[in-house]
């Protein structure tokens, strides 16, 4: 069998995997809110550590 069939099969398989990943992402609501995440990722340990006198 020619290598072209193998390559075609692989390329389609990879593409379909990504396509399924895309569908799952949409289904989980990752595309519903496209703004908040951009802010949220910039937060880190802003919470002030317990003060010593407590």
């Amino acid at each position: 069998m020619s290598v072209i069939y193998v390559l075609l099969a692989i390329s389609i398989a990879v593409a379909v995997v990504f396509f399924i990943a895309f569908i799952i992402a949409v289904k989980k609501g990752q595309y519903d809110d496209s703004y908040t995440h951009s802010v949220r990722m910039l937060f880190e340990d802003e919470i002030i550590k317990e003060k010593s006198k407590k």
């Binding site: 072209i4 069939y5 075609l8 389609i12 593409a15 396509f19 895309f22 569908i23 949409v26 289904k27 609501g29 595309y31 519903d32 809110d33 496209s34 703004y35 908040t36 802010v39 949220r40 910039l42 937060f43 802003e46 919470i47 002030i48 550590k49 317990e50 003060k51």
Partner: protein, 791 residues
């Protein structure tokens, strides 16, 4: 005095004198919120954004209805065992600090396990332990830190919202197929002759076919449905030639590969669907945090306090209110039904219902109408009618609210498409007849080629991209449109009708002028001190404009409901209130609100309250009068008539004492004479007029809360820009027409190839994306240039 701003909310804090932690605050409420945050190590809230907070409002008892399990059950998204999930709409969400504090809610309430903010929709989804924390406590805490959620009847009815994500799926699928088919058709584009291609082209072609099937039958299904609907109602909308083009493309391509004649046009087919969906997606932009469909339901509270015959208080749903029930209405609460006042002093603000700006006093036994807001302590009422039958809510039974404006509206694209479709079919028929005579073997080829190349992809893209972009530009300028059709409608307007109160006047502020004998310093000081004690809105307004005086304790102070105030200090007596109350009988009755003053039973004079008109009003009207018929229609009395005639161009029609129904009928009448009416209003009393008009714009001081159902919401600060917004809509229509011309140009080139029987897949694959992309580029650049002119 040194100017200081509140560390929490950013308001002026120079006068309050409240400082804490070396920071100044405008009121105790703001200080308390700061104390809560700093005490819980959350003071970072103030580092992310300066003065991000809101002053917490008094909410004592307001959320008692959340004790009622029947009500709360419907608000929960998820409710199992001790885990509860609730989504709350919080209008105040506006910056990164808000996201941060709400997502760190569990630092304040350990029972909250997670909270997630959706900034676009201004909602927060909170998961919490329902056994340890009640929804009421949660809502109370949010309100205490200045993030009061907005819970209304609307939430109660809708329950869980279903999100429609189908357009994203379709777009993803079409894009995926488009890319893949392009790759697969590449070898044959290059037309390399040889055994290699001969051997593999069949598998390539059938793969392309496989990828196209879901594109045609799933991604493009909306076009077929819409075309079918259009044909059934005898309309040649733009989707008819598109559906025709897609089906011809698919059938011919399939036939070609089955009969082994050629590669077909699968690349053009998938590309076409992808671009069309892209346009659709672009136009679909909506303002998730705004609601354009509000009716009375979003104004009304879900629950009210009912007093049983034995005096026990309980919370019931608004819909469960029955005739004869006794209800308790608290300060600042809305009266949900028509009723009779039984106990307490009512001062009702009917501005929602009638547009009348001044609150009215009612005695026990008087009838109160639904939609009024109680401003003066607790009252008890007896119900006369249920919610649906009340005077205000009956307005919504008018037919206007049942017809959908979009169904009636015929867009520019659809108008063009009618002629376009007929022309294309004609050309196809002519070309086919010619070839039937000349060389019949090519006839079918030419017929399908014409239908393929004439598929109006570029035309269908012109409007979505132009209008979608204009929508976005206007949104940045705080003019929020419900959808892109509104722009086309706005361009056609020739009559503009304004509501008065709250629309052309600024909501709460008013101009106060004094007429009469000059008050001495002592008298003015006494007046100021007298007004200090009163909570009446007129007293508050008057108090704010008087000079500062030393605070003294009055010897005597008495408030006469509905009449005025009487006070004395060191043998000096003052009466403030209505004309008869202060002992002034004048034949000169003013229609404007006035407060009369007398000291020691000598009449001094009166303070008259005039409406304060929005900035740039007269300028705006001057600009508008050249092209439009103007009218001002008001629920108020005609006290402001002279003032308005001075301000506005002489042509402007002025109508006063108009009820909500009258406004609606007035617009209907104008429309029956062929006018295209733009209604600009603000309150629920304009709801009928806004729905009846061709375009209804609601003016809003705060776009996040309270605007009736409408086509567009305009931020009150941008009111004077209205003219330029209408102008830009007109320019947008011109851009669409120009891009139509551009796409016709491409169509002519394509038709030349098609008619002469030379259309090869390569030409189609070049022409189709080229025309689409150049339309997108053209419309985007021109609309952005237009947007720059706006200030």
């Amino acid at each position: 005095m040194e100017h200081k701003t509140c560390f929490h909310c950013g308001l002026d804090a120079s006068k309050s004198g409240i400082t804490f932690d070396e920071k100044s605050f405008c009121c105790n409420g703001c200080k308390t919120v700061y104390e809560i945050f700093s005490g819980n190590d959350l003071s970072c809230y103030y580092d992310l954004q300066a003065a991000p907070g809101a002053t917490p409002k008094e909410i004592e008892g307001k959320y008692d209805f959340l004790d009622n399990e029947k009500i709360t059950k419907k608000l929960f998204e998820f409710n199992d065992g001790d885990i509860r999930i609730v989504s709350l709409y919080i209008p105040h969400i506006h910056c990164s600090s808000c996201i941060w504090i709400l997502e760190n809610l569990n630092k304040l309430l350990p029972e909250v396990s997670s909270s997630l903010v959706n900034f676009g929709e201004k909602t927060v989804r909170i998961t919490f332990n329902g056994d340890k924390l009640s929804l009421k406590d949660l809502v109370n805490l949010l309100s205490r830190i200045g993030y009061e959620p907005y819970i209304s009847l609307e939430n109660y009815e809708s329950g869980k919202k279903k999100i429609d994500r189908s357009i994203i799926y379709k777009l993803g699928l079409a894009g995926f197929a488009f890319g893949y088919v392009m790759f697969l058709s590449f070898p044959e584009y290059l037309q390399v002759e040889g055994i290699w291609l001969e051997k593999y082209k069949h598998i390539f072609r059938w793969l392309m076919f496989t990828f196209s099937v879901p594109v045609v039958f799933y991604a493009a299904q909306d076009y077929f449905i819409s075309a079918y609907k259009g044909l059934r109602s005898k309309l040649l909308n733009i989707d008819v030639p598109i559906a025709l083009g897609i089906s011809v493309l698919f059938i011919r391509s399939t036939a070609e590969i089955v009969l082994d004649i050629g590669t077909g046009f699968f690349d053009s087919l998938t590309g076409l669907v992808f671009f069309l969906l892209l346009g659709k997606y672009f136009q679909q932009k909506t303002y998730a945090f705004l609601s354009f469909e509000r009716d009375y339901k979003s104004y009304f509270p879900i629950g009210v306090t009912k007093i049983a015959t034995d005096g026990k208080e309980s919370s019931i749903q608004v819909y469960d209110i029955q005739k004869g029930d006794r209800l308790l209405i608290r300060n600042e609460e809305l009266i949900p039904v028509d009723c009779i006042l039984m106990k307490g002093n009512a001062r009702i603000d009917y501005s929602f219902v009638t547009g009348e700006s001044e609150a009215v006093s009612k005695k026990s036994g008087d009838k109160l109408f639904a939609g009024g807001k109680q401003l003066n302590g607790i009252i008890e009422v007896e119900v006369l009618k249920s919610v649906e039958q009340s005077y205000l809510t009956q307005l919504w039974s008018n037919d206007v609210f049942k017809t959908n404006k979009e169904d009636v509206f015929k867009s520019l694209t659809n108008k063009i498409s009618k002629h376009f479709t007929i022309a294309v079919l004609l050309i196809a028929a002519l070309a086919t007849t010619f070839w039937l005579i000349y060389d019949s073997s090519k006839a079918l080829n030419v017929f399908t080629a014409v239908l393929i190349i004439a598929c109006p992809c570029a035309i269908a893209l012109s409007a979505p991209f132009t209008l979608g972009n204009i929508l976005r530009i206007l949104g940045k300028k705080k003019f929020y449109l419900k959808n892109a059709n509104v722009i086309e409608q706005l361009a056609k307007i020739n009559t503009i009708i304004f509501d008065k109160t709250g629309t052309i006047t600024a909501n709460k502020s008013s101009k106060i002028t004094y007429e009469g004998e000059q008050l001495s310093l002592e008298e003015e000081s006494l007046l100021k001190n007298t007004l200090r004690g009163s909570n009446h809105p007129l007293s508050r307004a008057l108090y704010d404009i008087l000079n500062e005086y030393k605070i003294v304790t009055l010897d005597n102070y008495k408030e006469h409901l509905g009449l005025g105030i009487e006070a004395s200090f060191q043998k000096r007596n003052i009466k403030v209130g209505s004309a008869p109350f202060v002992g002034y009988s004048s034949d000169l009755v003013t229609k404007n609100t006035a407060v009369h003053i007398s000291t020691n039973n000598n009449y001094k004079g009166k303070f008259t309250f005039y409406n304060d008109y929005r900035k740039g009003l007269s300028k705006l009207f001057k600009k508008l009068k050249k092209d439009y018929d103007l009218a001002v229609i008001s629920g108020d009395n005609d006290g402001e008539k002279d003032n308005l005639t001075k301000l506005l161009p002489t042509k402007t029609k002025l109508l006063f004492n108009q009820k909500p129904d009258d406004k609606l009928e007035y617009i209907k009448y104008h429309q029956s004479e062929g006018a295209k009416v733009l209604m600009v209003g603000d309150g629920l009393n304009d709801a009928g007029a806004l729905a009846q008009s061709d375009v209804g714009i609601a003016i809003s001081e705060n776009v996040n809360v309270f605007s009736p159902a409408c086509d567009a919401i305009l931020d009150a600060k941008k009111f004077n820009q209205l003219f330029s917004y209408i102008t830009i809509s007109k320019s947008a229509i011109k851009i669409i027409k120009w891009s139509f011309l551009l796409s016709f140009f491409y169509n002519v080139i394509g038709l030349y190839f098609a008619v002469t029987g030379q259309l090869s897949p390569v030409i189609a694959a070049i022409l189709m994306p080229l025309s689409s992309i150049s339309i997108v580029v053209f419309t985007t650049i021109t609309t952005n240039l237009l947007g720059r002119k706006l200030t």
